[in-house]
Amino acid sequence: MHRQVLAWTAWLAMAPAWAASVLPDGEAQQLLKRYVGAVRQQSYAGVYLHQVGGSVESYRLAHSHEGGIWREKRESLDGVRWELIRQGNELTAYGADTHALAEAKLSTQRMFPELLPDNPAELTTVYSVRQLEHDRVAGYDCNWTVLEPRDNARYAYHFCIEDKTSLPLRISVINGRREVIEQFTFSQLSIGPVRDKNAFRPTFDQQHPIMPAGGNLEDGRADRPEIKVTPAGFRLLRDVRRTMSGRSQPVRHLVYSDGLASFSVFIEPGVAANRSRLAGYFARGALRAYSRPVGDTLVTVVGDLPDATIQSIANSVQLKP
């Protein structure tokens, strides 16, 4: 009896949080735009953690926006040392060797706290936005804003947004079972002008500029494979033929994104001999992948999406001769 009462009390205490209503699209878009603006226009310095799978990595970040100029330095504190420095729209990697530079480049796929696209308004077509309870992260009061998929095809993104500046302090990626599968969080932070003159200087001589990767999409290519089941909101960003390690023939590579989540489709002809060995599921961190032979062509879909979505995309790929 006691336990039942306890359970009801707990449920009632939680209920307001779950019952928080979905924001109207206009209001949600204003909110998301404010977060995007805050990430760029505020000045802040601190340390953040990135957790994925069973591992945790930490990074130091300084970001400054003064007199219309914004500068940023990000450096790895664990494992291989590298630095990423941004001045306006120029992004440069620094490190002791090419391995470090490659690691730095790879890290640019998620530049916390800048995870939302520049124009986040369209996210509301595929994610509903709700505001949940207050919390505290790295010494600052924040409020949870949740982007929940309107379908079950992708993960939910939870943002804890600082009360005064609208800066995201913690971002969690949550699956359908409410498990955190990936998380970024400031562990130490100070919001306000960055006084340290050295905060934005590189400590390595070896550098590598990271260039915009535009112009990789040719219009109306007749031989582009058709994907019958693309979840709503995903757009084609790249369509290239590329070489891949361990493959003799070029591989067709298409990249899609909904602004938050992304997936790649690889089309690889001439794998009849060992196709059974290559087919199936595999996973790494928050990434899921599924390979499926179609005739003597291998179709592989990789992305930060649930298994079922990855599989249904892969199953719906129709090749064109």
Partner: protein, 172 residues
């Protein structure tokens, strides 16, 4: 005593010491209380929701032939790749075990004598039990140099592509 618990959870005890401690835990109810207490404190201090779903290789290996620490969120996760992560994960396992201990403890008034004994450490020979509690079969872990995953990561690891270009170039 807490130091020994801590060493056990971190996998720092060698085989004999670990076995001896586990045997004592099974026999000594006072020690079991101490074990529960140790984890309750740890659990209260760590509230990270992600960190409570993993399992450390060291403790996991021990599950196969030893009294099993019941872990409801046990996922068949391969060995952690570094010491730092493995420490966190092992603490997290301990936290999960403590939670189960609390639940089992609370419900034990309806259960038999045998079940009460199991408040934290079950003597069932049951790696299977842990398996059945896992949520879903996990996909096999791809090696770090998996070419598809690398290619995908490289292709999205361009801030211009993923943010600025998304709203202009990607619009079709």
């Amino acid at each position: 005593m807490n130091e020994q618990f801590s060493a056990l959870v971190d996998g720092e005890l060698d085989g004999k010491e670990g076995d001896a401690l586990l045997a004592r835990l099974k026999a000594d109810t006072e020690l079991q209380d101490g074990w529960d207490h140790y984890h309750l404190i740890g659990d209260a201090m760590r509230q990270n929701r992600q960190l409570d779903i993993n399992i450390t290789a060291a403790v996991h290996a021990r599950l196969a032939d030893e009294p099993t620490v019941l872990a409801p969120a046990a996922l068949p996760q391969p060995a952690s790749r570094n010491r730092r992560a493995s420490r966190w994960v092992s603490l997290a396992l301990a936290a999960s075990a403590a939670l189960v201990a609390v639940i089992v403890g609370v419900q034990s008034d309806n259960l038999s004598e045998d079940a009460q004994l199991a408040s934290a450490v079950l003597s069932t020979p049951a790696p299977e039990a842990v398996q059945t509690l896992a949520m879903a079969p996990a996909a096999p872990e791809a090696p770090a140099n998996n070419p598809y995953m690398q290619a995908h990561q490289e292709s999205v690891s361009n801030p211009y592509l993923m943010t600025a270009s998304y709203s202009s170039e990607g619009r079709r």
